[in-house]
Amino acid sequence: MTETLMLWQALNRALDIEMASDESVFTLGEDVGLYGGSYRVTEGLYAKYGEWRVRDTPISEGGFTGLGVGAALTGMRPVVEIMTINFALLALDAIINMAAKIPFMSGGQFPMPLVIRMPGGVAKQLAAQHSQRLEHTLMNVPGLRIVVPATPQDAWWQLRQAIASDEPVIVLEHELLYFEKGEVDLTTVPPPMHQAIVRRAGTDLTIVSYSRMANLALSAAQQLADQNIQAEVIDLRSLSPIDWETCAASLRKTHRLLVVEEDCRFAGTGAEIIAGLTERCFFELDAVPVRVAGLDMPTPFNAELEAASIPRVEDIVAAASQLAGTTPRPG
């Protein structure tokens, strides 16, 4: 059964079906209840499940994320919504020192079926404190899983898988994708939560990306096709763990690697991807791997500067055509 849904609707449906089928699932966060969620993800759930399972919290990110940790220790399946990833900085103790470490420190005694959803990314002139990405900060923490759905289909699949998982899962949602529409197959068995997907097959280079940038990479690939460059586009879908094999298989075919990330370049996700793939495929590579990444600066408020601070389709096209060893045709 397939429906056309916006990404927020796919998340909403996923949450709803999991709450209906398992009473240990509950959600909490700022304005998730009566208000219906800042991006409508929890819309309608408060009326359906009541205040104990759809809990409006005070503005206490560290406190209510830690509350989620405590509840998960007793086998509940909390879905914490942190209004934006920027506020998750106040909850890093609960995420990094508790959720990621308790199962380990206890010698494997405790489950941690905790999901933490966070919108993030550069949106529309939200300025430096509301435009961060930070995935690399969380990727560096053993014990966490991180998923980055870029499509309504993956939002539907991966949120359900995250809730079903006994490991702590961070769901990084992109603020500009909530109202993107897509076909969602509601019945097919999903691929594993961390499996990367080849969104477009190609032979000349591999573009590895995730979240909103994976969609931009697809647009770039279409333009590249006009230049007779066939780019293979891989959407990682998961940043921890990373599905290296899907990437490596692609590189064995294309021998060229371009990584596109919205986050700052320095010590970022792209650095890990390139290092990981270079270690695995060094002798397959015909060219130095290339990153197209966000600038190493806080996000400027000014619209033009903001747009220029993160990769655009034309940046990806330019880097890809250079990497492919061709020059764009004039016109």
Binding site: P58, G63, L67, G70, A71, Q109, D166, H194, P241, W244
Partner: protein
């Protein structure tokens, strides 16, 4: 106070003291490394509070938690082996002194970042309240923890949603080396609870019976659905903050004045004078007199010989724990990986994608 309960107090307080002193010795012997925070001086709080709780109640503790673990019933062998970092430790040597966990006994962890126990306990309380269970959660914290944001965030939420959490302050007056007058604008911890409409009192934490009674009362209130409570127990740690701390910042006179209030001595004193007086027997009423007389006649009193025999028994238990820890093998890297991926067991990862 009935004799059996008093005997349990006596046993646990003597065990607590002996275990911790031995741990200090094993630290000096090189068998325990890292941070080791010891509890002598504060025993009456853990013993009184935990005995007042039901086994189904959850405990959330700080990094000074060996005694809490022992009183909850984790075998001394498994606690000592964990301190030694061995495979037979309660956490397979992955947690160590500051991170004791026992899921079966609802010992929900030793937390080594000050202020973490508040949100964890509040979350457990939330899951209890959501499922409408009769359980309670006991959240231990020190006086130094009350200036963390988590204290205020968690107390607010616990009160707002009437969660069954008992906040227990082990006020030993020092956050490591900074005395409470130098770290808190309001030095009476219990007074802070009024900001969240949480009933709270300050009590003598050196008297185990006092601690026990106050905790029972508070837990009764909590189980009646009245929301959280806070108890501030004034206590004193006789040692430094950890083995790395000689405690030189505390005036000699202060330390000496507190050593006269040793809670272990106090419980022994209580035990020794534990005979019911004629007046107490009379006050129990005519129907109970026979019962009391039979009880007293049938049982040995807590005389000095009895207490000595308890001490000898405990010495054996502690020695056995050390020998067990010494004999336990170290964990290997596979144990560490198994602990890290303990919750991944129902999922097959793709080839080559697991971190290694």
């Amino acid at each position: 106070m009935d004799r059996d309960t008093l005997h349990k107090f006596l046993y646990d307080m003597l065990l607590a003291r002996a275990f911790e002193e031995r741990a200090a010795q094993e630290y000096s012997n090189g068998n325990i490394a890292g941070f080791l925070h010891l509890y002598p001086g504060e025993e009456a709080v853990a013993v009184g509070v935990i005995h007042a709780a039901e086994p189904s109640d959850y405990l959330v503790t700080t990094y000074r938690e060996h005694v809490h673990a022992l009183v909850r019933g984790i075998p001394p062998r498994q606690v000592m082996a964990e301190l030694f970092g061995r495979r037979d430790g309660i956490c397979k040597g992955m947690g160590g002194s500051m991170h004791l966990f026992d899921r079966e006994r609802r010992f929900m962890g030793g937390y080594a970042i000050v202020g973490e126990t508040f949100p964890v306990a509040t979350g457990i309380g939330y899951s209890v309240a959501l499922r409408d269970l009769p359980e309670a959660v006991i959240c231990f914290f020190g006086d130094g923890a009350v200036n963390q944001g988590t204290f205020h965030e968690a107390l607010n939420m616990a009160a707002l949603w009437k969660l069954p959490v008992l906040f227990v302050c082990e006020n030993n007056h020092y956050q490591i080396g900074t005395e409470i007058h130098r770290h808190s604008a309001v030095v009476d911890v219990h007074k802070r609870a009024c900001a969240y409409n949480i009933p709270a009192e300050k009590l003598d934490g050196m008297d185990v019976i006092n601690v026990y009674e106050a905790t029972r009362h508070a837990l009764t209130q909590i189980r009646a659905g009245n929301g959280p409570q806070l108890l501030e127990f004034e206590t004193y740690r006789f040692r430094g903050h950890s083995m790395a701390d000689a405690g030189n910042y505390r005036p000699r006179a202060e330390v000496n004045s507190q050593s006269g209030r040793d809670p272990v001595d106090t419980v022994i004193h209580e035990a020794e004078i534990g005979y019911p007086t004629q007046a107490e027997i009379a006050a129990a009423g005519p129907d109970l007199v026979d019962q009391l007389v039979c009880h007293v006649a049938a049982a040995d009193h807590f005389n000095e010989q009895h207490i000595d025999s308890v001490r000898r028994e405990i010495d054996k238990v502690v020695e056995d724990a050390v020998q067990f820890a010494l004999a336990s093998p170290p964990p290997d890297m596979q144990d560490a990986r198994d602990s890290l991926y303990c919750n991944r067991k129902h999922e097959t990862l793709l080839e080559g994608s697991q971190h290694d």
